[in-house]
Every structure is written in C-alpha cells, then in structure tokens.
Symmetry: C2
Subunit: 208 residues, 2 copies
Amino acid sequence: MATARKADKPYHHGDLRAALIAAAEAELIGKGIDAFSLRGAARRAGVSHAAPAHHFKDAMALLDALAAAGFARLTATMKEEQAAAGADRKAQLVAAGVGYVRFALDNPELLQLMFGTSRRKSDDPELGRNADAAFSVLVNGVGMIRGRDAFTGEAGWRDVAACWSMVHGYAQLAIAGKMEFVTGLEFTRQRDLIEDLVRRALPEKAPL
Amino acid sequence: MATARKADKPYHHGDLRAALIAAAEAELIGKGIDAFSLRGAARRAGVSHAAPAHHFKDAMALLDALAAAGFARLTATMKEEQAAAGADRKAQLVAAGVGYVRFALDNPELLQLMFGTSRRKSDDPELGRNADAAFSVLVNGVGMIRGRDAFTGEAGWRDVAACWSMVHGYAQLAIAGKMEFVTGLEFTRQRDLIEDLVRRALPEKAPL
DNA sequence: CCGTAATCTTGACGCTGTAAAAATTGTCGC
DNA sequence: GCGACAATTTTTACAGCGTCAAGATTACGG
C-alpha cells in the first residue's frame, strides 16, 4: 500500500512507461534536445538508470514514443482551432494552419523532435499512425475546398504541399528566432500574420 | 620542410582550423547530427582528440563555424540560381527560392545544423553575418518587386516572411521525407513544384 | 503457498566532452 | 646561430552518457 495503485497495468512502479514519457518531455524541455539524456529522464521518474530498458528498447524508442504523443496533441490542437472557427471551408483550413503554428510555438522542443531526424529512428508504428492523422487534417481541409475529385490530378496535392510548407516553415523559423523582423512589427498580431500566410498558400482559384 | 607550408597562418599543422571545419562536415554527413562527435572530427583531421580546443572553445563553437560556412554556401547557391534565371523581377525571387531548396536538399545535415537549435550556441559573429547575408538575398528580391518604399509598411516584411516560410518549410519537410506524396507524383518535376510554391508566396498584387 | 516470470537495481564497459599538465615546435630578439 | 618565449599539440585524467549482463525484488498463476 506504500504506492497507491492508480491503474491495473503496472507491476512495480505504477505505470512506469507513461511516467517515463512524461519525464522525457520534462527532460527535453528542461535541458534541450542535445543535452537530453536517458539517465536524466529515469532520474526524473525516480527509477534507476537502467529501468527504462524494459519498456523502451533504447533511448530513441522512448523519444519516438514522445514524438507520437506530440503528433496526437498537434492533431488535437488543429481540430480545436477548427471547432472555434467559422464554418467557411477556407476558414477551416486556415484554422488548421493556425493550430499547427500555435502548437509549434507552445512546444518548440517537441516540434524539433517530431520533425527532426535527430535522436530518433522513427520505426514506431504508433508514431507513423499519429503523424498520418495530423497530416490528414490538412488533406481534408484542402479536400473540402476542392471538392469531389480534389486529388485526382496533382493540383490538390500541390495545395497540400503549399499549405503545409508555409505553416511548417513559419513555425520552424519562428522557433529558431528568425521571424522577429515581422513579429516585432508594432501593430502586427501574430494570428493575423499566420492567417495571411496560410491564405497565400491555399488555392484561390480552387473551385474554378 | 616536411609539411609544405600553404599559408602563413599555421604553426604546426598547416591550417588545422580549416581542416577541422572540413572534417566536421565529413563527420556530420557521415554519422548524422546526433552521432557527431568532436573526437571523431579530430580523428578525421589526423590530430589528437584535444587538439581542437585551441582553435574552438568547445564542440559547439566548431559547429557554429561550420554553420557559418553553410550560410555562405547557401547565399552563393541562391545567387548562382539567380544568375542563370531571366531578368524578370519575379523570376529573380523565384530563382532565389529554388536555390534555397536546392542547397537544402543537397546538404540536408548542414541545413539541420544551420537552422536547428541543436548542438550550437550561435554566438559566433561570423555566423550572424553570413546568416544576415543569406537573408538579404530574399529581402532584396522582395524589394525589387515592391520597388521604392517596399519596407515602409509591414506588407513588404510579410512578403519576406511568406517567401522564406514557404521555401524553408518545403525544404525541411522534404528532408524529413514528408513530401513524397507530391514528389512521388508521376510527372511532377521538382523544380516546377518549387517555382509554383514560391509564386504562391510572393505578392501578386504587389506593384498595385 | 511456491515457482516462475516480469520488473527494477547494481555494476561494468567503451564512448563522449572538457580541463590540466607535459611535450613539441615555430618565432623573434640578440 | 641560438636561447627564451609563445603557440600548438599530445598525454592523462575525470565525470557523464547509453547499453549490456547479472543479481535482487516483487507480482501473479498454478
């Protein structure tokens, strides 16, 4: 009874697997992606340095799992923003983009992890699934605008590439501190800027 | 006379500083950004593991220098592409974007280093200078299109943000392997796609 | 209630980056 | 020419890292 049992999964710790993922995020945010250490995450979770080995093959597997959780939250943030937006189809796609950037700026280290090749090997099946789910939010947004046979030709796919590139590029550059020349402008509100950017990428003459 | 003197700077090695930067790039390309090691770079340069300390304060300083060289080459690639393009002002900006992406895809690890926060501390003055030089290629491109008072309001800066975000985002996503859904399309030529993307970002109604 | 399997800890290995001390080599004044 | 000095490089050492192997601990099924 020393350790109050919160779930029924665990054997010793409670739920070490989940605790390690949470600890890994704290470690990632606290020390940055290069100073991240598996031993540090174990320390934060209150277990010995070799304990993670039983739940994750190696350090990269733990970070893959964290990245997977990140993609799930990215998807949630985009849908959340869409729910708060108007029903207009373009507004829906713009809202997804705004959510994308908001998530990125709120979780810079996580985004670096999710999209960098660094520190991961990316063969986690859940990671692939969650990344696909996030992707399909964008695809659906373009599909709504373009209608029926949106993706028969390559025009629809180009729209997706344009929208994704725009929001992702802005997010990355803002995280890297390279966007101060525009975010620092006096009367620029971040959200207006992002909406402007997304609108440039999406198909103006789409339903032509 | 055992070591043929190529310049007048060096004392012992010849030009260890430059050799270390070259070795660091080989190490970066060969082992990836997370497996990069200072000792490995020293090994490639044929010196002891502590030799770099006299030329670079620490490992991050060496990678900062490499990133600075990367920005110089990025600028060169953009200008090269501009020289090969038509004189039309929009074509010039598009060419800069194409050069940006070409450099990125030819040097993926280097781009990750240049724009990631990972493994660097970024207080190298030459790094800042070279990054600014690359930035100004884009700014000049927008300035040419918008003319005289391009950057009095914020519209011009938004154009810069849009163009940069677009090319940077596409480059990052392509490097991460996330753009196969469009690069894999049968008759899509990469260059056409990139030109299309850049054209979406730039100010259509600019000289209005 | 005990055996077995899952979980966690301990200890060890080679690797890393960095600092300090020792050794080597070029340069400058004489 | 050569000795003193300064710059460069190597050697040595240390703490931290990821991972593996072995031992200890705990839960579960018969």
